[in-house]
Symmetry: C2
Subunit: 246 residues, 2 copies
């Protein structure tokens, strides 16, 4: 059997979906697309995560498929991109047994021009707090979006992820603000600065004037391909521990 031949049994549909986060107007938001009204398309007119079928001719791998789809909607080429997980079942898509590989991305809002690539009717940012209150997303995308949000908030407690929400160079107060928006609570300035500088992932890049009264030191990431991991969470964990699947 060579690539492209059909095997002797039915195959599930395979898609890649993206949860793209940014901080815009002081709120954590994620990118949604409006599904087409074309007859035969499932969930017509509903909002969904950007994504779609893996194209075995165009895509070399899942990650390159994810990068292609991200670029088509946002024009962003070097986001923070991490695999979130996969969802697959007989019932999640009315077209049949389907599984989706989900990636989550962090991008700075500044300079991003949303594009209606593919067959989407519209593309828009939606604040994550409006996910529950708004109309439900297509397929199982509400569940997926919530899982992505949980993962993001978990990791923000002990990693440098929010740095990817800013364009470089940025100041420590700006970075602290990203952390606070994602976590939804204020952080102590002194502890925050100590932690960030001790983690050793930042590089001084000269003072940035004009953003506030007193100029602040600007920083760049030493290595955009690395994520710093802190020795402790911001506040000792008290929330409910996660459920296992087994």
């Amino acid at each position: 059997m060579t690539s492209g031949d059909a095997p002797g049994f039915a195959l599930p549909l395979t898609t890649v979906d993206l949860v793209i986060f940014t901080v815009l107007e002081g709120h954590l938001q994620l990118l949604l697309v409006e599904r087409p009204d074309t007859s035969g398309e499932p969930c017509p007119g509903q909002w969904a995560l950007p994504g779609g079928f893996v194209d075995v001719l165009k895509d070399d791998s899942l990650i390159s498929c994810a990068r292609r789809k991200l670029f088509e909607k946002t024009g962003v080429k070097s986001p923070y991109l991490e695999q979130l997980g996969s969802w697959g079942s007989r019932t999640r898509d009315p077209r049949g047994w389907s599984s989706t590989h989900v990636y989550f991305a962090l991008i700075p809002a500044k300079g991003v021009e949303l594009k209606t690539g593919g067959n989407a009717r519209a593309v828009a940012w939606r604040p994550v707090d409006e996910l529950d209150s708004g109309s439900p997303l297509a397929f199982d995308h509400d569940e997926i979006a919530q899982a992505a949000l949980r993962r993001l908030r978990d990791k923000v407690e002990y990693t440098s992820l929010p740095a990817f929400l800013l364009v470089e160079p940025f100041t420590l107060p700006q970075l602290q603000s990203m952390y606070e928006v994602v976590l939804g609570r204020p952080l102590d300035k002194s502890a925050f600065r100590t932690r960030m500088l001790a983690a050793g992932f930042l590089q001084e890049a000269g003072f940035l004037a004009g953003q506030s009264n007193r100029p602040a030191m600007g920083y760049r990431l030493l290595d955009r391909n690395k994520t710093a991991i802190f020795p402790r969470t911001f506040s000792p964990r008290s929330g409910a521990p996660p459920d296992n699947e087994g």
Copy 2:
């Protein structure tokens, strides 16, 4: 289009693979199966992770497919089971564009009878330290196994995962031993006990005599569906931070 119909384009193959860990004879081991020699089967005679195609008729979801495959090989019904991630590309399987959804499981070695389910020639435990030195695994399974090992060791630093490697009730010294085997280094007894008892996931279950000189308190998990998360790692992280994919 209903379930089972072929769409108008080629679909990737979809499999589920499992990385099943246990501690046996003082070593962290994972389950491997020997691939059949049947002509047409890829990687004949090589060792591989247990798994196989999603059966759209039998399997309701990815997780139930994973549970089915785990049960077929080990007879275990309530493991710790967590999704690890997915791997998919044009080249990872000679049969064509394929993606696999990988789960990782923790089970106690005690009482498990390995079964040669499906078309495997043999099933065996292999110590994880012999992964590099032995012959390479089939497909990209070496890479997947290493990713699972990394995830396990990471999470063991700050979660109660090793408790799922023991049959209940177990003692704190037994639990400490599971941590030490997985981490590959000794832990301080006093700090270990304080941490475990403070985390509040254990329930006293009476003294267990006969295992050593002095009987030790036995414990059960308060909730087998929850994983405790500790406020700090065992030793402050010093290792290299992970690479991002973007």
